[in-house]
Symmetry: C2
Subunit: 347 residues, 2 copies
DNA sequence: GACAACTGTTTGAACGATCCAATCCGACGA
DNA sequence: TCGTCGGATTGGATCGTTCAAACAGTTGTC
């Protein structure tokens, strides 16, 4: 009920019989305070339950200890929880380091840049975490130009000399693992269904398949691949073509949605087919689909560490400025040994 | 490159040839400023691109213009985008009103309350938005006791005299609409598969079905319902029992996951069955499932308006302190007319 | 013994906004 | 002409922290 008096540096100082600044030092630069004074001050802080006012600190230091994270409208057909889990991991990692995540909404890159401007001058945000970066992303240029600390979840495709820190999942390693897995099961006729050429992520994932196929001396030319947009219906049609053309025993897919299309096509043609997806979405779980789980939480933690380093929070050793994390193969029912007679079509 | 001087109240005042306070008034209380002075000041603000320092304002007023939103770990089998879309709607609605959303992570109610305490004293948050409230939620008691403004997405089940503002989706209206829809298609043997008794949301949705059935003079006793936890596998087993017991022509389900279990059970038994789900998740879209779409974005907007009113941002007329929004029926393929001979168990 | 160097602590000023009290100014009435 | 009134505007104090410089106390050096 009664509004208790706010605990401030001054009141802690009085309680510990030192000055404001010494209490401040005890928090921000403990090494300059005499050990016995330090313990006395820390006791007072604990006893009074003191918490520094972020506003006052921010006003003086021009640092908010807050990072910005932009939300885009959620597409209607989204079934992933990747975004969800990434934000959660980010928020948790941040608050362990005394930082917080502030959200803002934007519809496109330009709008988002306007928000950057507003948040930097008005709210003194210390940095940003970007997702869904793309080729020639204007947000990256804007931030880099102003020396604003930021990190991207997703590597800068087609811009090898980008200097900002980033974290990404190794798509090629993922499809490579899936391809090897299918080969170990006995498959030799392994096709690939991916996104249209030109997207960094899609091309990367295709590479994993084609490299392993080459390594194994198995065919992976144009006849063994097909492309489709990232939805189940179009994927079904593309898969139907692919199945008729090379009659594969297994298909590595660029995503769970696409993989589901392949499964539907196989059912329609009455074929027995091994399929792998990518993302480990809820759909994959429901379909009992073998897929690749992205290390989302770990990505968030690494991303946070990278941007905090640029902000200057910890000046630990010169580790790499980017991280590539391998996804994990989740084996379920849809990766099955091949038919004894691979050539046989249908029931 | 060169760090341009920050635009402050003082510099705007100098530019407009008035005093600090007049500029402040132009922003916070335009009606006390003489019109011609006002326009002059506003022009200066626009010209210099002035933005008030949130830190300074917060230090003085003890208001941050920030609302807290807690994230819980995302369950592995989650396939909904409801949480995602709610946060997005919240962030967008907030920033239209000059507010921002700050995230924090917590694992349980107690941990979340500790975060409240920290955020209130350290960061001066103006209020909170809670989701996933439950019976006897300690968070609600804690916040209410301290007169902290907050709103919940989800009504206070079993606590009719709760006084805090809330927003919720009308589950009963949803299942009622589904039931009527099935009846209009010609169904009369309509069963229900729900969650175990005792959960507010689950019981509410069941009510919608049973009320309409009673209204239509159709049977809805215990034989026509079954319960299951919210996952596809258990739902399939429960559905199998239900189908054998009353041989329904249609089943209204408490969620999309459960509905998918019913579809699987019907396939296994070779039955033709109309099914409706709840939530309009990606799974429903993929399965071509008739379901109920929750007005998530609108809920977020209303929730924001309610909590801002308690904070005292707008003192508009005395509207209601809670809102119940109706979900929308999304008709797809799984709501089908009944067999000509409902008793026939098809091949 | 005087001065310098160093350690640990304290004091005053500043960050940029709002609150509060005081002042200005033109109009109006006596 | 002067005092009064009320709305518009001004200057000073304040919020709680950190920065920069000054201060006392001890030790070391020639």
């Amino acid at each position: 009920m009664s509004a208790r008096q706010r605990v401030t540096l001054e009141s802690v100082a009085a309680h510990a019989k030192v000055s404001r600044q010494t209490v401040s030092n005890a928090i921000n630069a403990p090494d300059v305070v005499k050990p016995e004074t330090l313990t006395r001050v820390l006791e007072s802080i604990a006893e009074l339950g003191y918490q520094p006012s972020r506003a006052a600190r921010q006003l003086r230091t021009r640092r908010s200890q807050i990072l910005g994270y932009s939300l885009r409208p959620v597409p209607a057909d989204a079934h992933g929880t990747i975004g969800d889990r990434f934000v959660h991991g980010l928020a948790r990692a941040a608050q362990q380091r005394g930082y917080r995540i502030m959200l803002f909404a934007s519809g496109n890159d330009e709008e988002e840049i306007l928000q950057y401007d507003e948040l930097l001058s008005g709210a003194d945000l210390d940095g940003f975490v970007l997702t869904n970066t793309h080729h020639g992303d204007p947000r990256i240029a804007w931030l880099a130009e102003r020396d604003v600390p930021f990190v991207t979840f997703g590597r800068p495709w087609g811009n090898a000399d980008a200097t900002h820190p980033w974290v990404d999942v190794d798509g090629a390693a993922g499809t490579a693992a899936a391809t090897r897995h299918l080969h170990e099961l006995g498959h030799t006729r392994i096709a690939y269904l991916g996104w249209p050429h030109g997207s960094g992520v899609g091309d990367d994932r295709r590479t994993g398949w084609s490299d392993v196929m080459a390594e194994l001396g198995l065919p992976a030319d144009g006849r063994w691949q097909e492309t489709t947009e990232n939805a189940t219906e179009p994927a079904r049609d593309a898969a139907a073509t692919l199945l008729r053309r090379v009659s594969p025993g297994a298909v590595v897919c660029v995503s769970d949605s696409v993989a589901l299309g392949v499964i539907r096509a196989a059912e329609a043609q009455g074929r027995r087919l091994a399929v792998t997806g990518f993302d480990d979405s809820a759909v994959a779980l429901l379909a009992g689909m073998t897929t690749l789980a992205q290390p989302v939480t770990e990505s968030a933690q690494r991303a946070l560490a990278l941007v905090l380093r640029d902000i200057g929070v910890d000046t630990v050793g010169p580790a790499s400025r980017h991280e590539i994390l391998a996804p994990q193969l989740v084996v379920r029912d849809t990766s099955i040994p091949p038919d004894p007679l691979p050539r046989t079509v249908g029931s």
